[in-house]
Symmetry: C2
Subunit: 137 residues, 2 copies
C-alpha cells in the first residue's frame, strides 16, 4: 500500500483526507478519469465532498507535477496519474483510452526549428486489439 500522505508531503501539499483520496483514486484508476467520475466514486467515502475541491486539488496536483491533464476532443478534462512520457491510444469503437509506448522521434528538451519542446502529448486513434478481434468474426 502506497503512502499517499508522504507523496503529498514530499511535494509540499498538505495532506487533507480529500487530497489523499483523490490521489489514491487516480493511482488506482488509470483510465484517465474526469472530475465527475472522481466525484461519483468518492462521494460515498467523503459525503461532504464538493466538486470545487476536486477542481482545486487537480489544479494543485498538476502544478506540482503529481498528475497530468491530457488533451482530448470532447471538451471534458481527463487526468492521468502516469506523468512519465507515454502516449495514448483512443479506440474509435469502444472509446477506451489506452496507455501505450511509442518511440517518438522527438525528445523532451530538444529544439525543432527553434521551438523549444519541453512536453509532448501523442494521441493515436484507431481500433484496439479487442474490438479488432470482435469485428473480425
Amino acid at each position: 500500500m502506497k503512502d499517499y500522505t508522504q507523496i503529498l508531503r514530499n511535494k509540499k501539499i498538505s495532506p487533507s483526507i480529500q487530497r489523499i483520496k483523490i490521489l489514491e483514486f487516480l493511482d488506482q484508476h488509470r483510465t484517465h478519469p474526469t472530475v465527475d467520475e472522481i466525484f461519483t466514486s468518492l462521494i460515498p467515502i467523503i459525503p461532504t465532498l464538493s466538486k470545487m475541491t476536486i477542481y482545486n486539488t487537480l489544479k494543485i496536483f498538476s502544478a506540482k507535477g503529481l498528475i497530468k491533464s491530457i488533451p482530448n476532443s470532447e471538451n471534458v478534462g481527463h487526468y492521468d496519474f502516469n506523468v512519465s512520457p507515454h502516449s495514448h491510444f483512443k479506440c474509435r469503437l469502444c472509446k477506451k483510452v489506452y496507455d501505450i509506448d511509442v518511440d517518438l522521434g522527438v525528445t523532451i528538451g530538444t529544439d525543432i526549428d527553434g521551438y523549444k519542446v519541453d512536453e509532448y502529448n501523442l494521441i493515436l486513434e484507431g481500433v484496439c486489439k479487442e474490438c479488432n478481434e470482435r469485428i473480425k468474426k
Copy 2:
C-alpha cells in the same frame, strides 16, 4: 480563389451559403478557430447565422474528412482545415498554436502491439521562437 461550392459538392454536402462561408473561413484562418470565433467573424456577413448551424456544419465537415477537430486541454473545440498529417506546437507563453512538421516514428496504417492506428495527433508544448527571442533580452 478556391471553389468551395465544388469542394462541398464533391463530398456530397449541399452547399448552403452558411457552409460555404464556414469552410472558406477555416481555409483562410489556419489558427484553429473555435465556434465562437467563427460566429463572431461571420455574423456581419450572415446576420441570421446561428451557432447551432456552425456546430452542425463542423460535425458534418469532420465526418466527411474536410476538417479535423484538434485535441486540447481547455475544453473548447478547435478546428483545423489542414487534414494532412502534421503536428501542433503550443507555446506556453503566448498560447499560440503553430503547425509544425515532426518526423513521427509512427505511420498511419501501422499496427502497434495489435492496435491499428489510422490517425494521430501530436501536441508539443514549450516556448516558441518569438517568445524565446523576447525572453533572452
